[in-house]
């Protein structure tokens, strides 16, 4: 049996279309066949993690069993007691497999960990947020069997978007009425075709066609060059179209199953500042960090009065938050630097917005200044993507 990476091959889309016929018909008549959805999920997971990739498949099964047992045990504990240390240990244990997978290449010179599989970082987000909501007492009806289906929801298993337990459950337990479902089908089809344009035309053009060319030019001229500038823009567009294209497919596929998986991108290059950028770029990731890292850290620091000034608290937490995101991407200098730059940028951004607020009327505000802000933000973001791409590592150190 061959193995297919999700949404990369025409055969994958054809199989999706065929497998979804009973689901769509059922939904239109107000019925959800959970057992059939599970079969379809199993089939597509097998397609991704079977055949030559069976080792990843075994790693996935092991990981899912581990997380389901861990979160279930924590849920049982939380019903009786609520000790902070147990909560911290539960979170650490939930991220432990991911930490091992991320550290292995560093410790064994580039070797991939045997417990790794495509999508482990995205599943870890779902597991950790579930532990946190159980701790907060807002998730009272935790169910291991449902949790497994939430984790292994195949449309988003490889790279998100990252959904939330309670939001997912609301969709999973109901069937949208016909009018709403028809709207979701229409949107889904639109997203699929937009995804084709993004992923198979634009991402292909920038990533497969242009990127090697500009890389070659930049490598020949060493140091700063026009070629390097080309690498910066070409990589940025490639990254956007590739990931936004994938996300459109994942959202569309979820819609066909009557699940409103949240969108990941909202025209990020139109952002007027870096804060707005993070509200438009890889949104489910940045909102995850906002809700489960940033706000919690701020809450903790403010409650314990760790820093005197709320502004200091906000700034330090911005940097910690974005650094952690950098580490999550991988243990290389360029991912960590990418996180650090964005953390500092958020601090500067807040300072600038505050400064403008304190000095009303001092700076002009018109269409031109808005375009200028978009221009600056766009170029800054592209620069950080150049760091993120790892190309500088190749250029300077190899």
């Amino acid at each position: 049996m061959p193995s297919l990476t999700p949404y990369e091959n025409p055969a994958y889309f054809i199989m999706l279309a065929v497998a979804f016929i009973p689901i769509v018909i059922g939904m239109l008549w107000g019925k959800r066949f959970h057992w059939y959805e599970i079969l379809v999920s199993l089939f597509f997971i097998l397609l991704t993690f079977g055949g030559p990739k069976f080792e990843q498949g075994i790693a996935l099964i092991g990981y899912l069993v581990y997380e389901v047992i861990l979160v279930s045990l924590y849920n049982l504990y939380r019903k009786k007691k609520n000790d902070t240390w147990v909560f911290i240990i539960a979170v650490l244990l939930a991220i432990a497999p991911l930490v091992v997978v991320k550290l292995t290449p560093l410790l064994q010179t580039g070797a991939a960990s045997i417990i790794g599989f495509l999508g482990i970082s995205y599943l870890t987000f779902k597991a950790v947020q579930t532990v946190m909501e159980i701790r907060d007492g807002v998730l009272k009806d935790f169910n291991p069997w449902f949790f497994l289906q939430f984790m292994a929801f195949f449309p988003t298993i490889s790279s998100g978007p990252i959904d939330r337990y309670r939001r997912f459950k609301k969709d999973y337990d109901t069937v949208p009425d016909r009018e709403k479902y028809l709207g979701m089908l229409e949107k889904g089809l639109h997203y699929i075709f937009l995804g084709f344009v993004y992923k198979f035309m634009l991402s292909y053009f920038f990533g497969t066609y242009l990127y090697p060319k500009v890389q070659h030019i930049a490598l020949q001229s060493h140091g700063l060059s026009w070629g390097l500038l080309g690498v910066m823009y070409v990589y940025s567009f490639y990254l956007f179209f590739d990931f936004a294209g994938y996300s459109l497919f994942a959202v569309a596929t979820s819609y066909f199953m009557g699940i409103e998986t949240p969108m990941n991108f909202n025209q990020p290059f139109k952002s007027r500042n870096i804060k707005e950028f993070w509200n438009r770029w890889h949104m489910t990731l940045s909102f995850w960090f906002r809700d489960y890292v940033y706000m919690r850290l701020v809450f903790f620091f403010m409650k314990h009065k760790t820093f005197k000034n709320p502004k200091t608290t906000a700034n330090i937490t911005y940097i910690l938050n974005m650094l952690l995101m950098g580490f999550w991407h991988g243990e290389t200098w360029y991912y960590i630097l990418y996180g650090l730059i964005h953390g500092v940028a958020l601090v500067v951004n807040d300072w600038w917005l505050g400064f403008k607020k304190k000095n009303p009327g001092r700076f002009p505000h018109n269409k031109f200044t808005e375009y200028f802000a978009i221009f600056i933000t766009f170029n800054f973001v592209c620069f950080t993507f150049l760091v993120f791409s790892g190309f500088l590592d190749k250029l300077f150190f190899h």
Binding site: M132, D136, V138, V298, P310, K357
Partner: protein
């Protein structure tokens, strides 16, 4: 002081604006509230009204206007 007045006072402190004239204004869209302001709001509600609202309880779309915040607070009281 009733709940409404307390909430409006907290919001005025946090945002530096009197929001009582625009009870249905989206405070996140207008830039008056952000994550930091949200946490401060939750902490203030805890000290002044004794409401225990964990961060998980905070679903942005349910807390984005003064009216919605007051409704939420009354529900949690």
């Amino acid at each position: 002081m009733d709940t409404k007045e307390t909430v409006l006072n907290i919001l005025a402190d946090l945002t530096g604006n009197d929001v009582s004239g625009s009870m249905d204004e989206n405070l996140f869209d207008s830039g008056l509230l952000d994550s930091m302001g949200t946490v401060q709001l939750l902490l203030q509600l805890q000290t002044e009204l004794g409401i225990e609202a964990p961060v998980s309880e905070f679903e942005r779309s349910e807390w984005d206007t003064p009216n919605k915040i007051i409704a939420k607070v009354e529900e949690l009281q």
